[in-house]
């Protein structure tokens, strides 16, 4: 905590180097978030009025829900996380972004990939594997874009002036590696010309879903939170050894989960999953405790600011991860299978944990990168309450409804249709929450877009000013 003299200059320079790449990543991501949530809402509306989109195949549940899930993960969470990670890499390196043009190209490639994938799902060309619905062209674009951004991050790290490693580095490096590894592996297996046959496909699908939604989100989200929590609270991370322990147990055990108990596969697969899930309790608790210790006693008011977002995100990480782990508890999981419970947990992980931390980080980063205050600070504040309240209102009814549904499914005297219908009253509340989340996402979109437009107008003004400025006398040739 002893800034040398040139650092203040340095950090503005560093932030300026991130400006264009980050705007490209965040702008698209915010748009995809709004679109994804809108599609998710459209999908849920089929439960309120089943014939609403009967004549519109694009918006039938199967397509809209898949497109919405993928837009949340690939459209918002991953590009936003990559943007935030790039910025943290530059800040921790105390060096400007290396190869600043590469992430701009990559961001555009990524967004084109998401667009191609989403359109493909909506016209019925999805691959049919959950979380891997994007057909091959889109998957190739996403992977190429990811690798380009990862290379930029590594180059920035290599050019660092501050040699010391910080816990966020481990998490972010692991996240870069983890996505590249699991996404390419799963795509090579499932979206290739020679996919493995039979139930192996499902096993690979479960493995990917677990690695993206549990391990990757935890690595990226906690890596980012471990940068911002100490920074905003002004207290050191407590402690690096504890964080290392959480990190190692997470990457070691987290990746074993994912195969449901009811899977029609040899008994060792679900058993190993349950074993991994049991031990994954440790990193979740450990990382939660590190975050708690870091912020406890901090005298920083959060009132709807980035600190609020990130604290809520870490709390969501602990709760949603424990709920996720509970899905692999042998007896209990038989009740929860095929209910709304799993859907609720996934949405909590994506919205309550990842989106929350990322939106908070974006609000923290954007003013620095643009060297300008947020254009709509009130909306940013409202965003926290809409997103936090909306997420809880969205997922908690789904969890309770799922439990009730599961208990009814387990009772042989209750017809299947009746047991399914139990969830309807919960879905009514849950859709209200989804609407609030969507409003929150609109706040983010407005802030990012107004900021981009202001910046572009500023650029145009500078150009016009430069063109129309009277020539200096020294430059006038006589």
């Amino acid at each position: 905590m002893n800034p040398t003299e040139n650092k203040t200059v340095c950090s503005t320079e560093i932030d300026a180097s991130c400006r264009v790449p980050l705007l490209a990543l965040f702008g698209g991501a915010a748009l995809w978030l709004v679109l994804g949530l809108t599609l998710g809402l459209a999908a849920m509306l089929s439960f309120h009025k089943p014939d609403m989109f009967a004549d519109c195949p694009f918006l039938t549940f199967g397509r809209a829900q898949a497109a919405a899930n993928d837009l949340l993960l690939y459209g918002f969470v991953i590009p936003a996380a990559l943007g935030v990670m790039l910025w943290i890499f530059t800040r921790l390196s105390q060096a400007p972004l290396a190869l600043p043009i590469v992430p701009v190209v990559a961001a555009n490639l990524w967004h084109v990939g998401v667009l191609v994938g989403t359109v493909a799902i909506l016209i019925g060309e999805s691959t049919g594997h959950p979380w891997l619905e994007y057909p091959r062209p889109a998957a190739v674009l996403l992977f190429a874009a990811f690798m380009l951004i990862a290379v930029t991050a590594v180059a920035t790290f290599g050019a660092r002036l501050n040699r010391e490693l910080y816990p966020s580095h481990w998490f972010m490096f692991a996240a870069l590696l983890w996505f590249a590894w699991s996404y390419s592996t799963a795509n090579l297996f499932l979206v290739s010309n020679y996919p493995p046959r039979g139930v192996v496909q499902s096993v690979i699908g479960w493995w990917l879903a677990n690695n993206l939604l549990f391990v990757w989100l935890a690595l990226a989200g906690i890596g980012i939170a471990f940068y911002f929590l100490p920074k905003i609270s002004g207290q050191p991370l407590a402690s690096s050894g504890y964080a290392l322990f959480g990190f190692l147990t997470l990457v070691f055990f987290g990746t074993w989960c994912g195969i449901p108990q009811s899977a029609p596969v040899p008994a060792w697969l679900p058993t190993v999953s349950s074993f991994g899930a049991l031990l994954s309790i440790i990193p979740v608790i450990a990382l939660g405790i590190v975050a708690k210790k870091t912020v406890s006693g901090a005298k920083v008011a959060c009132m709807g600011g980035p600190f609020c977002f990130i604290k809520f995100g870490v709390l969501s990480f602990v709760v949603s991860s424990l709920l996720y782990i509970s899905e692999f508890c042998p007896r209990y999981s038989r009740v929860l299978d095929f209910t709304w419970f799993n859907f609720g947990v996934t949405q909590w992980q994506l919205l309550g944990f990842a989106t929350m931390i990322l939106v908070g980080a974006i609000y923290e980063i954007l003013p620095r990168v643009m060297a300008k205050n947020l254009p709509l600070p009130k909306l940013a504040k409202a965003n926290f309450f809409l997103l936090a309240g909306g997420t809880l209102l969205f997922v908690i009814p789904l969890l309770i409804g799922g439990l009730e549904q599961g208990m009814k499914f387990a009772d042989a005297n209750i017809p299947f249709a009746d047991a399914s219908a139990v969830a309807l009253k919960f879905l009514r509340i849950s859709t209200t929450g989804q609407l609030l989340v969507l409003l929150g996402a609109l706040c983010l979109l407005l802030n990012v877009f107004v900021m981009t437009i202001q910046w572009k107008l500023g650029l145009i003004k500078t150009v016009i000013a430069a063109v129309t400025a009277p020539l200096k006398t020294s430059e006038v040739k006589s």
Binding site: M1, N2, P3, K7, T8, C10, S11, T12, R91, L92, Q94, N162, Y166, P167, F226, Y227, L229, P230, K231, G234, P236, L237, A238, S239, S240, G241, Y242, A243, L244, F245, G246, T249, Q261, P264, V265, P266, A267, W268, P270, T271, V272, S274, F275, L278, L279, I281, I282, I285, A286, I289, P330, P367, R368, A371
Partner: protein, 196 residues
Amino acid sequence: MSDENKSCCHPTATRSSAPMWIIVVTLSLLFFGGLYLDSHSGWFDAKVYAPYNSAEKLEAFQPKSVAAAAMARGKGLYEAVCGICHGSDGAGKPGQAPALAASEWVTTKGFNRLARIPLAGVNGPMQVAGKDWNLAMAAMGAALSDDNLAAVLTYIRTSWGNNASAVTGDDIKKIRAEVGKSPQIYTAEQLKALPE
């Protein structure tokens, strides 16, 4: 930016390591998880599926010989086709079906009479194990294959204290040919007129 000075210093971390208690908890979870893995994984055997836990347990369900396999198949078929009326303990049900355990119709030396009952059915008054019955049984076994019917009859003849000879598929084939394709339902007298 008012906090620009603060923001240029990147966050630090204190150096202490993870506390002992969480390492102890990890190790104990590893221990209990290991016990669970040991008892439920079937030791990574590709043939072991839930709800079975181990290859040994599955092995116990596998018949040890051809005769044992036929017995196991006979038991399964008996319980699906015959056991509903005759009872899975072979004791019969009052007013529904006579006993097969210790029944003189079952434990005969040959099975020429016995095999015709499931093949063609039996009707009218009949004395079984000292009790008088007057019911009708349809040709419940006519749809079974020769080998399957032989397995069921073997099961009946050697279970619940019965100790008569086994029946083979070829025997049933012969009797089925004698009975004919659309057989007349037998009465007890007609059966008794046939050789054992």
